[in-house]
């Protein structure tokens, strides 16, 4: 049988062993958990950043967005039909003499239409209230920059600046202007973003 000193020694020795074991367990746990926590942290950060949209390419806001959000001004260059609208219509695909489907009801959402000065006449965006109509493009007469009007970069920039806004080239949408078959009073503007606008002589 152990005397009390032996019991004391044994008890304290077992305490040391227990504490050493506990320390070792803690070290192992720490060594295991640290990389796991790092991986989790990186994963969560990655997911967070991905969701925040930091990796997605931001398309610069179009002038219409920047202006309409701040003032009542509208983008005169904006088309009154979306690119999808044209493509999804039952008309033949875009081509030189294709049919362009213009929805008047959609155009009504724009207050200021596009304007082009051509052949001594002003061609302005069609009355948005007009019903849907079908036009057939004829000849290309030039790009937006070849004529005075809202499809000309310099003119558009001046217009913006007159209203107190800055205009950058990245907002500018290239365009091509066509005559309309059998109707000299109309012009068709095809925008590089896929949209198109019908202009009518004043």
């Amino acid at each position: 049988m152990k005397n009390y000193k032996e019991v004391v020694d044994s008890v304290f020795e077992r305490r040391e062993q227990y504490e050493a074991l506990k320390r070792r367990k803690r070290q192992i746990m720490f060594r295991t958990l640290t990389p796991i926590c790092c991986v989790c942290l990186i994963a969560f950060t990655g997911v967070g950043l991905l969701k925040s949209g930091i990796f997605t390419h931001e398309i610069p806001a179009s002038p219409s967005e920047s202006i309409s959000s701040g003032t009542d001004s509208k983008n005169p260059q904006s088309d009154n039909t979306s690119s999808d609208n044209g493509k999804n219509s039952s008309q033949p695909e875009s081509g030189n003499n294709e049919y362009d489907n213009v929805s008047g009801s959609q155009a009504s959402s724009f207050d200021i239409g596009g304007v082009v000065y051509y052949n001594g006449r002003y061609y302005a965006q069609k009355d948005p209230a007009r019903k849907e109509c079908v036009v057939v493009r004829d000849k290309k007469i030039g790009t937006g920059n070849d004529f005075d009007g809202t499809y000309n970069y310099e003119c558009l920039k001046n217009l913006y600046e007159e209203h107190g806004f800055e205009y950058s080239s990245e907002y500018y949408i290239e365009s091509e202007i066509y005559t309309v078959k059998d109707n000299p009073d109309l012009l068709c503007v095809v925008l590089s973003n896929g949209g198109f606008v019908i202009l009518e002589a004043e």
């Binding site: 152990k2 009390y4 004391v8 008890v11 304290f12």
Partner: protein, 185 residues
């Protein structure tokens, strides 16, 4: 024997000598008490050591609602009950080891109980049911009150009182069989 609570407080404050005093004061009584559960003084010694190790390692809170000894014996009892549960199978002990156990047990009895009468009664306790021997040991050898005994053996006061009554009757009849009269009963 000083107050174990004071020694334990000293130990909790970082003085290991406090715990040395506790071991010195309580080890034999606790061992004999735990022997009632396991009927093997060597195992009882291990369990006694386990009890002290558990206290040293876990440093459980002693609220002071009972005496320190009651609290210590209750911890020891839990450990012994766990041991008995885990080692329910009856194991055979070689005759040589059995005689060692008996000799060591007698040594502890002689050292701890000292009184010849008490030693005889303690030997007789082994022939009783373990519940009877536990309650009798705590009350007549460790001088616990019925309430303290109830707290250690985790029974109600009334149950302990009844158990004690039956244990006394059983011990009396056992002692009578051995032509021994113990006045304290």
């Amino acid at each position: 024997m000083n107050n174990g609570a004071v020694s334990y407080r000293r130990f909790l404050e970082g003085d290991d000598d406090g715990f040395v005093e506790i071991i010195k004061d309580y080890k034999d009584g606790l061992m004999l008490y735990l022997n009632n559960y396991v009927q093997n003084i060597h195992i009882a010694e291990d369990l006694m050591e386990d009890t002290f190790v558990r206290i040293v390692v876990k440093k459980p809170h002693f609220s002071g609602k009972s005496s320190f000894k009651t609290w210590l014996y209750a911890i020891g009892r839990n450990i012994a009950v766990d041991y008995v549960r885990k080692n329910a199978k009856i194991s055979e002990i070689p005759a040589e080891e059995a005689s060692n156990i008996l000799r060591d047990e007698t040594d502890v009895e002689n050292e701890y109980l000292r009184d010849e009468h008490k030693i005889t009664v303690h030997k007789t306790l082994k022939k009783l049911n373990s519940d009877y021997s536990n309650v009798l040991y705590l009350i007549y050898f460790e001088n616990f009150s019925i309430a303290e005994t109830a707290e250690i053996i985790k029974k109600s006061y009334k149950q302990t009182e009844n158990l004690l009554y039956r244990a006394k009757q059983s011990l009396k009849s056992q002692l009578e069989k051995e032509d021994f009269v113990y006045e304290e009963l």
